[in-house]
């Protein structure tokens, strides 16, 4: 039996139909690489998606796949995993699919802690319907359906996920292949529901949406890649770090005002208290860097495991083992 896989084992024969330059191409590549590294066979992998550009992804991976209906991927993936827990279940979902029409299913999948790997593909726009604003679009965003700018604030996926009781949240950039692959692998290995927000570019309707953090020349100064157990240091010259100042996070320069590396916060993704994880997930420029990498990675009872654990707990207590025996345990009478 095959136990190691290459990226080619996860490539399907279908022509990839995303626009040239779309961030989904790179994300697909990262996902396939992560899948190969985890070592679960394509036949034991199920990729579930909703509707939207990114939700076409199941057709491009050579696994079991189900391209479902708008917003419902979390619920369908929940059913797949509970019914067949040996499968590695991935959910590919866009920002509209996951956070607008599918918001309810998303928070409940997170709350139940079903062991699925949710990849939330956030390009801040509705691409497949040709350019309406998304629940992740910034206030004032101008689009076809908000010609005078939106008058609503966006969701922060990290806060929503953690607020719903999320045990694993990470953020990646489409253009950052190496780190994406590492994070997706950690997400897949996490027991329970993992959410990876992938910031991707929509070259047609929202080009450059993440450029203030994703462009090569600014990325290191405007993002921080978090790793569990490592100090929160970032910047081109690795001379900036994060400290706690009162209730706030604050960027400091190492070497200035007596600050040394020892003063910098060390990332603890496994800390049960999520206060700091909330703050990290919420960071935005220009004052603070955008947090990338695994923000939270904690353990909690896993729904699909609990289903089967409960079966085992009940079994010894019951007085019947089959439907027939169950019928006989009811109030019955015999006509002779």
């Amino acid at each position: 039996m095959q136990t190691s896989y290459t990226v080619n084992d996860f490539k399907s024969d279908q022509y990839v139909r995303w626009c040239p330059g779309c961030g989904d191409h790179a994300l697909l590549n990262s996902i396939q690489r992560a899948m190969a590294e985890i070592g679960v066979s394509p036949d034991n992998t199920a990729v579930i998606s909703g509707i939207g550009c990114s939700s076409r992804l199941p057709y491009y991976v050579n696994t079991y796949g189900f391209h479902t209906i708008h917003g419902r991927a979390s619920a369908i993936a929940t059913g797949v995993k509970v019914a067949n827990p040996r499968l590695a279940v991935w959910q590919i979902t866009g920002d509209g699919d996951c956070l607008a029409i599918g918001g309810n299913h998303f928070i409940h999948a997170v709350r139940r802690n079903v062991d699925i790997n949710i990849v939330l593909v956030n390009n801040g726009i509705y691409g497949l319907t040709k350019g309406q604003y998304a629940p992740t679009s910034k206030r004032g965003f101008i689009s076809k359906s908000s010609p005078y700018g939106t008058i609503e604030d966006p969701f922060n996926a990290s806060n929503l996920c953690l607020g719903a009781g999320g045990q694993f949240f990470a953020r990646i950039l489409d253009t950052d292949l190496k780190n994406s692959q590492e994070v997706l692998k950690l997400a897949a290995q996490h027991k329970g529901c993992s959410v990876v927000e992938a910031l991707v570019n929509c070259v047609i309707f929202n080009d450059g949406t993440h450029k203030e953090v994703s462009a090569k020349e600014v990325r290191e100064d405007y993002t921080i890649f978090l790793r569990h157990g490592e100090p929160m240091i970032f910047g081109k010259d690795r001379d900036k770090g994060l400290i706690v100042d009162g209730f706030k996070l604050k960027v400091v320069k190492i070497g200035e005002n007596g600050i040394t590396e020892n003063d910098i916060l060390v990332h603890d993704a496994k800390c049960p208290d999520k206060t700091l994880h909330f703050k990290l997930g919420h960071m935005r420029g220009p004052e603070l860097p955008l947090a990338l990498g695994v923000i939270r990675d904690t353990e909690a009872p896993v729904y699909d495991e609990e289903v089967y654990t409960q079966f085992e707990e009940i079994k010894p207590k019951r007085n019947y083992k089959s439907l027939n025996e169950f019928f006989m345990s009811l109030e019955t009478w015999e006509i002779k």
Binding site: P58, H67, I69, R72, A75, L87
Partner: protein, 611 residues
């Protein structure tokens, strides 16, 4: 004093009181007792819409009707005996009893305050309600129960909770049922609470003895036992039977049963029963909403389970898009709709048959699927089983329609011999197909094959987008869409070949054919039988298979000069028949949309006007 005992074939007893008076339990115990002594039973609870309306008020009256005897097919039109625990219960049920009914009341409850709460205008309820022809048995039940349990040290409130057992004792006396069997039932029910058990048995016995000793000038009844087929029986409600039918089907197919559901009246008991049957390995997910209910089930079906979702009309509306995904992806799925009064929130606790067209057509696109309808509380088991079988073998969603009347009503059910149920063989892919297989390759029945994730060599992608009939890849080709549309329809049409033909009951040479479907069976059957007994002639064609219709439907219906389709909606099944069949004659309709079942009496009246 001469005690007369009336020998009867059947009788209808209605228990009523405050929703906290325990009338549902009393009714259930009495119907089980009657069944144990060889009577057929049919029961129906009549819950108030409110969970706990103010005590003693008209809106708080809870009822439970049981029909016992032989040739019992319905819970009965009007009651021969009414138990009314308070003035409100009496007032509410005047319309539900026969003129000369025996009325058993708790006299203590008919005080000034009780009459006031029930909005009586005078101090004489019997006169006010024009119940002069009834046989009143007024018993100070509350006082007697207090005396009965005076030495137990129980609190007043606790003591009065046993009032219903006093009533049960009286009814056992009235129907000549030995109370030893009732005691045995109480032992089973309260075995773990010795104090409650002792109190209930004491009160039951005192009630029974009181009946014997009062020398009331009413006759008691002896309901003749029925010649029922040999076997072991239990009393089953439609929702329980539905749940168990799914378990039996999963067991037969060798599959895990999965229910994704969201609580809704009157379908919640299916979720609850299956959740309790985790002890038999059933998976239930109480989803975040109706949509997630069906979507978790669709996921489970994709992953290889026998998957089902249970709901009522408003929930079925929310599930439409999900149902269509199962139609398009050609996945087996059982959708149970326990119909209630609509539209919108409608009459949640009342029964209706008005979701038929929603079940048949309530989706976007050309979306054929199988629709079945159960027709008695106990055959909910059979049709849940058949719905599962058809779904699994033909790779299609199946909607099973039951209704509030079947769901909460009960009938005696002979425990089934599961080995006699037909085999269930889903069209799984098999190893030899590897390399030659594609997701929409079909077998001779027109069903696609099922490749369950985890099966080596059969990884594939399906979804809601139209797919190429040969390769399974996304396709927008016009000719392919036409072909796939036709193939999906053909697959459903083919099922007409495997379902049983339509059978008639009653007089098949009659001019008049009565047509019904689903939960109205008991009333229609009783009405047609009585019609023929009266020397008139009619036949009954009752449908359980709604789509596709049995293959011989057109032929059978065209033998009759007059057809009347009777249903609890404004004519949905009649429309279905008109659209699907070439019928020679006119189809008449008899419709009722009141949230209530038919009565045999009104059906008989209507049949007479037709001939």
């Amino acid at each position: 004093m001469i005690v007369t005992v009336k020998e009867l074939d059947r009788a209808v007893v209605r228990f009523s009181g405050d929703s906290g008076d325990g009338m549902q339990l009393t009714g259930t115990l009495f119907s089980t007792l009657s069944a144990i002594f060889g009577n057929e039973i049919s029961t129906f609870p009549d819950y108030p819409a409110e969970i706990r309306a103010p005590q003693g008020t008209l809106s708080g009256v809870s009822g439970f009707q049981v029909h016992i005897g032989n040739k019992v097919y319905t819970p009965g039109d009007k009651a021969d005996v009414l138990v009314a625990m308070n003035p409100a219960a009496l007032k509410v049920n005047v319309k539900n009893i026969k003129k000369d009914a025996v009325i058993l009341v708790d006299a203590d409850a008919f005080d000034e305050s009780g009459l006031k709460k029930a909005l009586y205008k005078t101090e004489d309820p019997i006169e006010e309600l024009k119940l002069g022809a009834a046989q009143l048995v007024a018993v100070p039940i509350s006082t007697l129960v207090k005396e009965s349990l005076a030495d137990t040290g129980m609190g007043n409130k606790e003591i009065l909770r046993s009032k219903n057992m006093f009533a049960l004792g009286l009814i056992c006396w009235l129907f000549n049922k030995p109370i030893e069997e009732a005691m045995r039932l109480l032992h089973r029910k309260f075995g773990k609470k010795p104090g409650v058990l002792q109190a209930n048995i004491k009160v039951l016995t005192d009630g029974f003895n009181y009946g014997h000793n009062i020398h009331a000038s009413v006759s008691t009844y002896n309901i003749r036992p029925t010649d029922m087929p040999k076997g072991i029986y239990t009393d089953v409600k439609g929702n329980e039977a539905t749940a168990w039918g799914l378990i039996a089907a999963a067991q037969q197919a060798g599959l895990q049963l999965f229910l994704g559901s969201y609580p809704i009246t009157p379908a919640s008991e299916i979720l609850q029963e299956l959740a309790a049957r985790k002890d038999l390995g059933v998976i239930t997910v109480q989803a975040e909403d109706e949509i997630a209910g069906i979507c978790t089930a669709i996921g489970a079906s994709f992953a290889g389970n026998l998957a089902a979702t249970s709901t009522s009309g408003p929930g079925l509306a929310l599930k439409s898009e999900g149902i269509n995904l199962a139609v398009m992806a050609e996945l087996p799925l059982v959708i149970i709709d326990v119909q209630r009064g609509g539209p919108s929130t409608g009459l949640p606790t009342k029964t209706e048959q008005s979701d038929l067209l929603q079940a048949l057509y309530g989706r976007n696109g050309e979306s054929p699927l199988v629709v079945l309808a159960a027709s008695t509380p106990s055959n909910c088991f059979d049709f849940a089983y058949m719905a599962s079988k058809l779904a699994l073998e033909h790779m299609t969603p199946v909607i099973l329609l039951t209704d509030g009347f079947l769901a909460n009503g009960s009938s005696a059910w002979r425990l089934p011999d599961l080995s006699q149920f037909p085999a269930i063989n889903p069209p799984f892919v098999h190893k030899e197909m590897q390399g030659k297989w594609a997701p929409y390759l079909r077998n001779e029945q027109g069903s696609r094959y099922w490749a369950i994730p985890g099966t080596e060599g059969f990884a594939h992608r399906i979804g809601g987008l139209e797919k190429d009939s040969r390769t399974g890849a996304i396709s927008t080709d016009p000719a392919n869409h036409q072909l796939m549309t036709d193939l999906r329809q053909q697959k459903i049409d083919n099922i007409a070949k495997v379902i049983p033909p339509l059978q008639l009951s009653g007089n098949s040479n009659a001019d008049l054919l009565v047509v019904g479907w689903g939960g109205t069976y008991g009333h229609l059957y009783s009405a047609v039988r009585q019609f023929n007994e009266q020397g008139r002639q009619a036949a009954l064609a009752h449908f359980n298979y709604i789509n596709p219709l049995p293959a011989n439907t057109e032929e059978v219906l065209n033998k009759f000069k007059k057809i009347v389709v009777c249903e609890l909606n404004s004519g949905q099944f009649a429309s279905h028949l008109r659209s699907k069949l070439k019928l020679k004659g006119e189809i008449l309709q008899y419709n009722k949309v009141q949230g209530q079942p038919f009565t045999v009496e009104e059906l008989l009246r209507h049949f007479s006007t037709i001939l």
